[in-house]
Amino acid sequence: MKKINFTGVFVILILAVLISCVAFSGCTESPDAPDTSENNVEKGNSDKNTQQELIIGHPWNLKSVDPGLSGSNLNNFRVSEGLISISPDYKLLPTIADSWEYVENSTWRFYLNKNVEFHDGSKVTANDVKTALDRSMKLNPELQGRLNIKELKVVDDSTVDIITNTVDASLPGKMAYGAAGIYKNNEGPEGTISTPIGTGPFKFVSYDKATDTLKLAKNENYRDGAPKLDSVVIIFGIGEPNTREMAVEKGEIDFTTEPTLGSTKRLESDKNLNVIIHPLCQGYKLKFGDVSKAPYDDVRVRKAIAYAIDRQKIVDNILLGRAIVSNGIGITPGIEWRNNNLTGYAYDVQKAKGLLEEAGWKDTDGDGIVDKEGQKFKITLYTWPQRPALPPLAQATQSMLKDIGIDSEVRIMEWDAISDRKNEWGMITVAGGDACMMIPDPSYYIEGNFYSEKNDYNYRNPNVDALIMKGRTIFDKEERYDAYREVQRIVCDEDCAQVHIAYHYHMVVTDKNVKNYIPNPAHHDYSINKDMYIE
């Protein structure tokens, strides 16, 4: 008898699982979100009465809480601040430094705001600035190279001199770089900081490495007034976008970023959620492997490819509205030093074919693939899997290139593996995350991409190099920016050094009660702000 009962229970159990699976497939058909309001009401009530706590689900891991190693993260979560920060409209904002000026001989002088206090109540002195930056640069040689700093000198308690290796007009922008935050040096005996003390609106409370969870509390004494949130909990390492998405829909977390590509409409129509889609200073582009070698040593071939890409179609269908069309340069609209008068490359297959033909690429054997001197135009498009839009983008590119007679193959591999293939004939990298505001100064993007000594695809143009040198060494802002605008014209309209496709838009999903989130396109990928609160 017992035996039969047990079988029954087992059968019922499995049936239950099956039925719920069926229910699942039923549910997916209807886009209406299930009723999660109960959950939210409960949560909202308790929050209102007691604590304003924001729970964030973050896709990546936090490796360390040492500001020398994780400076950008701590800056984005507003624990630490830099001498200078950047506003959502790309302006440099005095932060720990009140003002700054170029003195002479590669020396910049920063005057500190005397009201800035660390979380432990002590005032920020010039010495703290020197100690923090020296320490960060020592721990992170990359930062040292990037900031181009030779030495820091304390002038007095609230004045610090920064001496650069070469004359560098871009230093103030560099001081807004996430990793250049100022913090109290409270190193433990092993030389690491386990309780970071910064100057921002949120204080570090604890970090649980086992669960990769960071807890912050409001800094009551913040100089511009205490933040409205009592505490912030950041759960790191939720790598699966579907998981993040369901967690925020269910109200387990209040705030997350980059849900699945297909979800935009559904999440936007969900009454319990806020969806914020905002520009981020990143783009999608095609990068030639080597522009000094055939076939890309001919500018007509590069331009042909630029004309062959139907950017609007890509933005509408592949990037699904989370991007806007780019006219050919990787500097996001709205940035002050952007050249807004570029001609660019509007989609035009006939023009593209004509340019190829001019360059000697013709389909002589009628197989639909152009060739020249016996060489068929057969190339490989490389891209990497971490950005979900890249593989379909590469495939769309493949089909658009096919239309002008270029045959290509798509290969998806780790980013680092791609750099080994740079010398392959005709290789193109389909790239995303092309960031132009890592450092809020034109030199960052333009030097990295187009300066002869710095770019990695053999682009050489003496005019461009001269303009870049000019930009480094003159201090008049408008004159400087004009030099960079001229560079943009040359690399885009004249040389077509890279084929830019679209500007990336970033998507943040929050609970509908989370108010006052102001996206900052210059930050990667998002940051929280002091005035956020939960209704």
Binding site: T260, P392, Q395, S399
Partner: protein
């Protein structure tokens, strides 16, 4: 019972393996005739047609690049079957070779080979595959290498075990007494008698291999787009899991069905090869 005693009508009499055979038959036909029965070019991109739900025009809808999902799964069948056949052939023949060698000659060779197998088995195979594909790069060929590298272990074990028992049989003594060479004994006496359990393992393993190929594809390490492959398609559909469920349901269901079918056949074969299947009650 010998290999030649496996009769098709026995398989057909077992309902589950009949179903399995029918499914595999249909899938195999689909794979072979993919070029003729697919209604569209599986790689033809029509961006304006993207993410269309199933309709009379596109029975399984279209994917994010507007490609016809039905044509893609049809060609995906071809990719999957071709790959798994290659892998199973490689692993089974290599594994059987090693297993018979180890079992028949015994001693030092056996000890070394078996320890090697133990070492490899102790190592989680998915991690090994991750590392291998990480170092060789993703792609069909490397998928084959990564799966084959550990796939032969089970064949070697089974072949060795059968060899050990067959080796003790009188007819082996007889053959040796008749002056047959070791090579001849291995290929003409041991191998045919090892085959039944190997055949069962092959059918069951086909399912496992299909699943591994799909897992690697899902992790983005398998076949490369635009090659249609079920796991890769699942991975591509992941970003649309809830908004366009057909993108993941169709390839996911096909993976399940084909693994299921191979398991049914394998189970049926095993029952046939073991004639005393009835139990006293």
């Amino acid at each position: 019972m010998r290999f030649r005693d496996i009769r098709l009508d026995d398989l057909l009499r077992n309902k589950a393996s009949f179903l399995g055979l029918v499914i595999i038959g249909i899938l195999a036909f689909t794979a072979i005739a993919a070029d003729f029965i697919a209604p569209y070019d599986p790689n033809k991109i029509e961006l304006d047609e993207k993410l269309k739900p199933p309709s009379s025009e596109h029975i399984f809808g279209t994917d994010q690049l507007g490609r016809d999902q039905l044509s893609r799964v049809i060609h995906g069948t071809q990719t999957t079957f071709k790959l798994s056949l290659i892998i199973v052939t490689i692993t089974a023949s290599f594994g059987v070779f090693i297993g018979i060698t180890a079992g028949y000659f015994g001693g030092f060779i056996d000890e070394i080979l078996m320890r090697l197998i133990d070492v490899l088995l102790a190592f989680p195979s998915i991690i090994l595959a991750l590392v291998i594909i990480g170092s060789l790069g993703p792609g069909i060929l490397n998928t084959v290498i990564a799966i084959s590298l550990v796939g032969w272990l089970y064949y070697a074990r089974v072949a060795r075990a059968s060899t050990l028992s067959i080796k003790e049989k009188e007819y082996i003594e007889g053959a040796r007494a008749m002056g047959c060479s070791e090579m001849y004994i291995c290929t003409h006496y041991i191998l045919p008698n090892c085959l039944p359990p190997i055949i069962v393992l092959v059918t069951l393993n086909m399912g496992g291999v299909i699943l591994t190929i799909a897992s690697l594809g899902f992790l983005g390490l398998g076949a490369q787009p635009p090659t249609p492959e079920w796991g890769t398609m699942l991975n591509e559909g992941r970003e649309f899991l809830r908004d366009c469920p057909w993108l993941s349901v169709v390839p996911g269901a096909l993976i399940m069905i084909s693994v299921l079918a191979f398991n049914f056949i394998g189970d049926g074969l095993r029952d046939i090869l073991d004639p005393r299947q009835q139990v006293i009650k």
